[in-house]
Symmetry: C2
Amino acid sequence: MKRPGNKPPQPAPATVAHLGEDRLVAQLTNLLPAPDARVRIGIGDDCAAVRSGSKTLELLKTDAVVEGVHFTAETDPARVGWKALARAISDIAAMGGWPEYALVTVAIPPSTPVLWMHGLYKGLRRAARKFGIQIIGGETTRSTGPVFASITLTGRVEPNRCVSRAGGRPGDILYVTGRLGGSLSGKHLDFIPRLEEARWLVTHFKPSALMDLSDGLGSDLPRMARASGCGYALDPDRVPRTRGASVTQALSDGEDFELLLAHPSKNAARLEAAWKKRFPRLPLTAIGSLTANPSARSIPHGFDHFPQP
Amino acid sequence: MKRPGNKPPQPAPATVAHLGEDRLVAQLTNLLPAPDARVRIGIGDDCAAVRSGSKTLELLKTDAVVEGVHFTAETDPARVGWKALARAISDIAAMGGWPEYALVTVAIPPSTPVLWMHGLYKGLRRAARKFGIQIIGGETTRSTGPVFASITLTGRVEPNRCVSRAGGRPGDILYVTGRLGGSLSGKHLDFIPRLEEARWLVTHFKPSALMDLSDGLGSDLPRMARASGCGYALDPDRVPRTRGASVTQALSDGEDFELLLAHPSKNAARLEAAWKKRFPRLPLTAIGSLTANPSARSIPHGFDHFPQP
């Protein structure tokens, strides 16, 4: 029944571009039943983690790169292969785990040169070798448009070393590894996933929350804070920047594939000293802290796959 | 050194269309190192199977559907979701296993209606519920072209009930379930993966080889024979056909998602009688046998994702 003076009903956002990535994922997740007790971590973290009848949790990840979005037709296919697998390794690292098996699904136009596919697999092979992964399956199908390469990666993690993005607490110090911004100039294709560093972290320390930076600190930090039920205080000037990158770029460019972690402040000094000794060439930088006020989450936004117009 | 009269060197096929799907996969597999002993079944079967520290083998599958290839822009998205998951379930069934966890990667144009995504997930949810699967992860990214939905599905199977496509022996009877051909008229979107039937088969009988028919009997039977080191004798007139489908369609249309199995002849009569009692409404039809001569593999070919021009 319409009554004069009532607000008109809000029309539902019509396209995924209007809705934005996070709200889309939230809506889709709501359509699914809650997982059972074997699922320790479900949708919304870097990986899913399930109990699997052995002492370790199994980690499961799927991730895709798309021509025109994550690489171009001119990109060396070996770099595309490296990137495709390294992205998924970065997510396994972000849970504190190590990778085991990969499966590869590729959709390609029939006109794709065979040598392009060889190049892709050489890049996949290089990343698999370096990080101890076995590629044990795959599927090749036809695309009527761009090339798609989707990676499935399994991993393992001890239950007491599995770190989600949701465990952050008010007062935790926020750290990032490496330098942020400017990834498009090349790093997005050649980055080294922080697997060694993350394993060291969860073995020697107890970070309360951990994730990898894929969409940019400006998008990913609010996600960690939201998942942890916290707000945050960020000092943008302390964000370590790639040479030549502005603060805005460091917050928004995305595809840094560095680690973001929240760590209890009482052990912060010990963590910083031990890190410097173990990884002298990779900075670990305190950039702010988690706060009790969940509404304190105001920094420029990063890369959204479906930016609002 | 060139000598007159020598054949000119064969140019390598330039595109994946020229090479064809099976040879492409063989070349790519050759680029990868051989898997270690934990991998019971690697690339080339319906699923990979790995030892995972528990009593059962873990099955891993990835599979994708692409707009313009496996569905059209006009297809009800709920049917796309059902199909995407059911295809992967069919592969888990083809190993003798049961499915457990699914992850979903979708690449979509930003202009995709939100309701289309809801529809897709409702179809996924329906298939997940019917077959006891938990959807525990996913990734949504941008496509510059068609919609692309890639499914990762894990499963389990007892080691003694795991059936590959490579175990067929000369003299084995070849059977197919259901009726073949004409899938494009609708079945390819709504088919019931033969999970219940496959589990019953491996629990009560010992098929020597098992696979699902995705590309058409004319493509898939030669694959089973090749993997088993056998040839085959097929009676095309005995191939059970969907009403209205020709023999050629039954061999070539593809996307039947019925089971193809090889079974020792000595128990064949008992299998046929038990099947009829257990699944009175789904035919199990003997269509030929495996033979000792590996070169006897001549039937019209089925659906190849990259058909030779």
